[in-house]
């Protein structure tokens, strides 16, 4: 039984990791006041280019780097359109997702059915062999740790650094930040780039570690889950991890319940994360001040300098 619980938690962590990456990136972008609905598209772009890079060179690290870079490039298209040309963020984000889906399918044509060497779980002698906690703490693939590290750093950056506060100020009141003299547009560019990089990394995680293959539209909605996750976490990095484990874990739990023959309808379990999101939204909406504290006030609003 303990073995089953450990194994399930391990599987849940890998299911949560792509969500941690994508949601952390989106959280930073949203904190700066930009709503980028193109997460799914950026993930797909990162997944396909990362996979292509590994197929061509055999270097997993290069694949991850390419995933990050191409995700970032995709987000820059979005940034130019929405920040410099002031197009509508919602429409542009949706367009980015559709573009990413199509582009990744096109680029991926040659890579369907190819196979690569997977990035394996780490193994530290003695530590990994410890009973129970050994594998839970020291037995994941390296990127699980990277995801938690990035999440921690993001929390620290937003909360405890000067630039983090400036980024939040830009998201909460762009005009005031501008009046004080901060470069609102430049900061938003940087935040969107970070969001793109993380989405790309999340996508590359799927195609390089999670299932070492490329398949068209393989993210299967994880980008949208990441978006829901940011709201679920009420824009707090620490809650992203909790949400990611919950969102990723529910799929695993659902399959586990089936395999154990518990007879809970699969579709019911699949609904749960979304119901949870709605419940959280309702709860935090009840208290107007809490929303104001957490949600970036300028989210989704284009910024035009008044003076």
């Amino acid at each position: 039984m303990t073995e089953l619980i450990i194994a399930s938690i391990m599987t849940m962590m890998t299911a949560a990791t792509p969500l941690v990456f994508a949601a952390t990136g989106e959280l930073v972008a949203e904190k700066s006041g930009v709503l980028n609905l193109g997460v799914e598209g950026m993930m797909l772009i990162g997944a396909v280019f990362g996979f292509a890079a590994v197929t061509l060179t055999g270097e997993p690290l290069l694949g991850l780097a390419v995933g990050i870079l191409t995700g970032m490039l995709a987000s820059m298209i979005f940034a130019v359109l929405t920040l410099s040309l002031l197009s509508n963020q919602v429409a542009t984000g949706l367009a980015l997702t559709i573009f990413g889906t199509g582009l990744s399918a096109l680029v991926g044509l040659d890579y369907v059915g190819k196979t690569i060497e997977q990035i394996r779980a780490i193994y530290i002698p003695v530590l990994t062999d410890l009973p129970i906690v050994g594998r839970l703490l020291f037995g994941h693939d390296p990127l699980v740790y990277v995801g938690i590290l990035i999440l921690g750093l993001t929390h620290w950056f937003l909360k405890h650094t000067r630039w983090g506060m400036i980024l939040r100020a830009v998201g909460d009141s762009d005009q005031s930040a501008h009046a004080i003299g901060y470069p609102v547009i430049a900061i938003r560019y940087a935040a969107v780039a970070f969001g793109g990089a993380m989405a790309g990394l999340g996508g590359a995680y799927l195609s390089l570690v999670y299932t070492p293959l490329w398949a068209e539209h393989m993210t299967a909605g994880r980008g949208w889950i990441a978006l829901a996750l940011v709201v679920f976490a009420s824009w707090r990095p620490t809650r992203v991890l909790l949400g990611a484990v919950l969102f990723g874990g529910i799929t695993i739990l659902q399959l586990n319940a089936q395999a154990a023959g518990l007879g809970i309808p699969a579709s019911f379990m699949s609904m749960l994360p979304y119901i949870a999101t709605i419940v959280v939204l309702v709860l935090i909406s009840r208290d107007a001040t809490r929303i104001r504290l957490n949600a970036p006030a300028c989210l989704g609003r284009p910024f035009r300098a008044e003076r």
Partner: protein, 357 residues
């Protein structure tokens, strides 16, 4: 949003269909509707191998076109109609969910011949064809019964339709014929092709003690997940040995080519008529990939089992067979008739799952 993405998928798919080239007037144009990409190395790949064989055998007389990634259900109707509108006279729709759309389009194009894979409804210009995959599943069950150390097999199932249920039952009967302690754990993923989800299901099943994974989904992800843990798996629809050289025990290989050639010939000769084909190992529509990663004894047993099925000495559904309630559904010594097999909507005794309704 889903809708939007589906629409783009269809737009892409139709663009592909149209780009397939211009027809020369005297060649028979044969169209294929695929559920996944031909590169899935599973179900669609096997159909595409059949298409390639058709081109090779009758290349001077036929010209083929395929539309890939066509979602099942009402959306597929347009893709099928598009092929019919563009002069295709023989159209293969290669997944269960295309059944109603195929019949609908067939009504509008009475001069076009349609062939629907794995369905059970036909009409004047719609034939059905399917392979007796359950024969291969039985052989897999025999192998699993001998190879498993944990006596637990993980079965990734797609949708609760007779085709899939029949496979699970045949697998279990095969396994129990050599090892009555075998347990089959079933997980329904409600998709034919979603690699991360298929991998999740495989991982969960292995977490729960399965040391052999078998699947009724189309990608190689589950086999690769088993490979990562050093366990065993069966390939599905095509030989997946390259994705798990030390993992694959064997695979059901769907060999559609000869059927596609025969049907195209029939159209060319003017002898095509509605038929319901259900061929198995004997006719060569189901072929087993080489028996690998098992002892010589087990391989010999598997070969013998396959041979007996091929010669007709052994029918996988030979009584006594009980359902989960313990009622005898096939009497001792009798075999299940095709009617029962085609509509199979119950588990046989011993399946560790409740059939979704």
């Amino acid at each position: 949003m889903k809708k939007l993405m589906k629409l783009t998928a269809i737009a892409l798919a139709s663009a592909l269909a149209l780009s397939a080239g211009t027809a020369s007037a005297d060649k028979l144009k044969v169209g294929f509707i695929y559920l996944g990409p031909p590169g899935d190395h599973g179900w669609t790949y096997a159909h595409d191998q059949g298409r390639l064989m058709l081109e090779k055998e009758l290349g001077d007389h036929v010209q083929t076109t395929y539309v890939e990634n066509v979602p099942e259900g009402p959306d597929s109707e347009r893709a099928i109609a598009k092929l019919a509108e563009t002069g295709h006279e023989l159209i293969f729709t290669t997944s269960f969910g295309y059944m109603e759309p195929t019949l609908k389009v067939a009504k509008r194009f009475p001069n076009v011949k349609f062939e629907h894979a794995t369905g059970y409804k036909d009409s004047d210009n719609v034939s059905t064809y399917v392979a007796r995959f359950y024969e291969g599943r039985y052989v897999q069950g025999v192998i699993a019964g001998k190879v498993s150390k944990t006596n637990t097999i993980g079965y990734i199932a797609s949708f609760p339709i007779p085709e899939v249920v029949r496979g699970i039952n045949a697998f279990l009967l095969g396994a129990h014929s050599v090892n009555p302690d075998i347990k089959v754990k079933v997980v329904w993923v409600y998709t034919w092709f979603d690699p991360p989800k298929e991998a999740d299901a495989a991982k969960v099943l292995m977490d729960q003690g399965a040391d052999i994974i078998t699947q009724h989904t189309d990608s190689t992800a589950a086999l690769q997940a088993a490979a990562e843990r050093g366990l065993h798996a069966f390939g599905q629809a095509s030989d997946m040995i390259q994705f798990g050289p030390k993992t694959q025990l064997t695979a059901n290989v769907n060999n559609w080519g000869p059927y596609y050639v025969a049907r195209a010939k029939a159209v060319l000769d003017g002898t095509w008529s509605t038929s319901n084909t259900w061929d198995g190992m004997a006719e060569g529509m189901v072929v087993m990939a080489p028996f690998t990663n098992m002892s010589a004894d087990v391989a010999a047993l598997a070969t013998k089992t396959a041979e007996s099925i091929r010669s007709g000495d052994l029918h996988p559904f030979t009584g006594p067979i009980r359902n989960q309630a313990g009622e005898v559904v096939v009497a001792a010594g009798a075999v299940a008739d095709d009617g029962m097999l085609a509509g199979m909507n119950f588990y046989v005794e011993g399946v560790d799952d409740k059939l979704p309704e």
